[in-house]
Symmetry: C2
Subunit: 513 residues, 2 copies
Amino acid sequence: MQLRVKILGIDSGGKPFVFLNKNDADELNITASERVTIGRKQKMTAIVNISSMSVKSGYIGINEEVRKDLLLKKDMWVNVEIAPFPASLQFIRNKLAGKRLLYPEITEIVKDVVDGNLNENEIAAFVTSLHIEKIDLDEATSLSRAMVSTGKTLKIKKKIIVDKHSIGGVPGDKTTLLVVPIVASLGYTIPKTSSRAITSVAGTADRAEVLMPVNLTIKKLEKVVKKCNGCIAWGGSLELAPADDIFVQTEFSLHIDPLLLPSIMSKKKAVGATHLVVDIPCGRGAKMKTTGEADLLARDIIELGNRLDMHAHCVVTFGEQPIGNSIGPALEAKEALEVLMNRKSVPDLVDKACNIAGAIFEMTGRKNGYLLAKDALESGKAEAKMREIIQSQGGNSSIKPEDIKIGKYTLHIRSEKTGQVLWMENRIIVEIGRAAGAPKDKGAGVVFNKKNGDFVKKGEILFTVYAEKQYRLQRIKNILMNQSLMGIGSKTDMLIHKIEEIPVVERTFVIDR
Amino acid sequence: MQLRVKILGIDSGGKPFVFLNKNDADELNITASERVTIGRKQKMTAIVNISSMSVKSGYIGINEEVRKDLLLKKDMWVNVEIAPFPASLQFIRNKLAGKRLLYPEITEIVKDVVDGNLNENEIAAFVTSLHIEKIDLDEATSLSRAMVSTGKTLKIKKKIIVDKHSIGGVPGDKTTLLVVPIVASLGYTIPKTSSRAITSVAGTADRAEVLMPVNLTIKKLEKVVKKCNGCIAWGGSLELAPADDIFVQTEFSLHIDPLLLPSIMSKKKAVGATHLVVDIPCGRGAKMKTTGEADLLARDIIELGNRLDMHAHCVVTFGEQPIGNSIGPALEAKEALEVLMNRKSVPDLVDKACNIAGAIFEMTGRKNGYLLAKDALESGKAEAKMREIIQSQGGNSSIKPEDIKIGKYTLHIRSEKTGQVLWMENRIIVEIGRAAGAPKDKGAGVVFNKKNGDFVKKGEILFTVYAEKQYRLQRIKNILMNQSLMGIGSKTDMLIHKIEEIPVVERTFVIDR
């Protein structure tokens, strides 16, 4: 069918779609959310919206994705036909019917997800079915491979390329800002790509951006790594495993994470990692609640690594409270820099970083990994390496902790009683950090004076909230009126909470990668 | 946050959405597919799209749904805030975690679906989880009730209101066009609402529309029923159980049908039915493949009826070939009219209609229901009643079969061998019917000269395709080159088909209601 172009002037995050008039849709025998091929010589597939108002009969409304790809102009004639049925949709239906998927089927699905040939319903159903019916390791392997093959890859010519990853969920985890310079300072290649916060207070990319540009091209990244052995870049613009960025939208909304393993492993495979250490924070308030769960996940990570020709080790770490004393991009960057400069003692952060760096060293054949890491930190080698990376990525290599801008509005929260810190609630810590303005306001965040086990006197400051905008502090007062992020008491306070009507449960869910 | 209105000029099937600039979205701390409340005095919730191009910072793009509901104009200031978290989404997440849902939770979900407060991802995940984890009868009851309470209902003051429904899946099933006049002619109240074809060749509303207007208002429908005891109206514009119309979009795309029971039962409850007969076509090519499956479904229908204070009986019918000899809206309306006028003998159609009408009579206490029905048909009472209904709904009550316009382009398909008809393939019959132009072209369809068991000589006409547009016949020739809709042979031909590579399965799936 020949139709004339109407430019809608809206873009939609990479998804090509068109609007058809009801009459034309009926003539094509197509319903909403199905697919058409559209084009002149060059053709593409787009998802159909149907409307009697938005476009007149004889016209086709196109979004910016379609306009740019096909270089269409207003009133141009285009050919529009019902698209061939996507085989990938049949494979999704098979999964819904409880069938295991094979590699060529998964590849077809992932390809169509990346190309925009599957609509939101279909992608959501796929992700949901993976969640409910679980994926086995064969499917996880296929998904990882398919996600790599539909994205870009780094080309770094090294026999050993190391990497680290955390499955996340613990606020204030600036470990990567230490691990990368420690590891690179010993001559290892570590092309680290990180994500920004989605549901958390700061992602590693947000933290690193306080110190240096992180939005690198693949070419620039390869150059930085060649020069410094390591980098800390934002993964989002590199198009490594782009399918993951689409799946994650659905997962985020539904609080499910069935693609956790393929997501991690595909990104690591895409940067060419040969040796990988994965950090699995564990405990109430973390993603893994028990060490049993954590160990089972570790087993799958290691086996999946094997199948993808990658050595993988895991470290299970304590995840029931923030790492270090600060949360928020700038506060965390500052804390990491202070530790690199040996200006400040933050024992849990240092211990975690040395354990992860040490595990990397040991899996490549070194002994006493932990001590090697600690030495790199204490000797100033790691700091020097960090400054080299900052310079290579285009930052100010002589940056000092006091140069980092922190939000000027503060709110001190004091203890209402004397006792001991019994617990900290990661979920509420995150809520406070985000309400303060993080991750968008880089200077927003929280600094803790007390953590688990510390003794507190009535009236002592427990923590301080920092914000760039004063009005945000009021909202935090409101949040803290109804819930606490820290429990102070003696060890015999037993009641957690009461339930007196059907509860709307709020669960911890962190999908940052 | 105060933003200025930009009218996008697109509508989207009832779903309110807005476009925010990336900056404003970050300031609001909101991501794509989340929800905002928007408005001046009156407020509503809308789903968020995020774009850096479609709207400038400081503006909010609104679709027609939002514009009309809030009566907004270009450049008006509106207040935009992040919407309170919908509890319904937490309930969907609970379902994803394998939990059974309670009535207040299901009501909340259904309400938010109807109000446009849940995005496509979330609705698709809900429907998918109902499919994979199954719904139990408690949930089905809750869903039925919630779907009724979020829609309109008929107010007909009768102690007994009867209804019939077919779960569908068999082409050419014009039974309702006989059952309604038969039942109404005996004084029973039967306010029949029907759907149009979604994936089939014709829905009952499409067939009836050949004879009379079916797009009635609730008021008009009540008037017709008061006068004639019965009606045959399109259910789509009546807003009975509107949630179903939204769920069905997801189900259709995914070929899943978890809401089958609540969908049927909520619509029947909404018209006030007290006695219901449900037809369950059964066999290869029908929705239910075995009588065992059919009986289990029947059990659930009857029990669900009980819980909704409705008497329900079921009839399991033979569904391996079309009902009667014709498919396509006009051809089927013509065949039904010929049978009502006793001009033509179509034994399977008459038998099915009399069984269903007879079941209705018997469940309300009459004896010999089948014979009562047959008598109504043969005596001309049913025809007279049908003409009364046609007149009340605004059609031509003296319409004759030869007045009905059939497509003038024909294609005769002849047998390539001598033998017996061993099987007919409903899926391909539907494909041919739709390729001929049905349901949009009302005169398009197929007339069968031979059906299962009939003896055929080489060269005899098996069936004739009718189309309103000649070019459609070519496509049918192409379809029939690769597959047959009828198997002719002797009873010893054993091979069905071979599989030599990983197949992309095409399954029968009919979602028409």
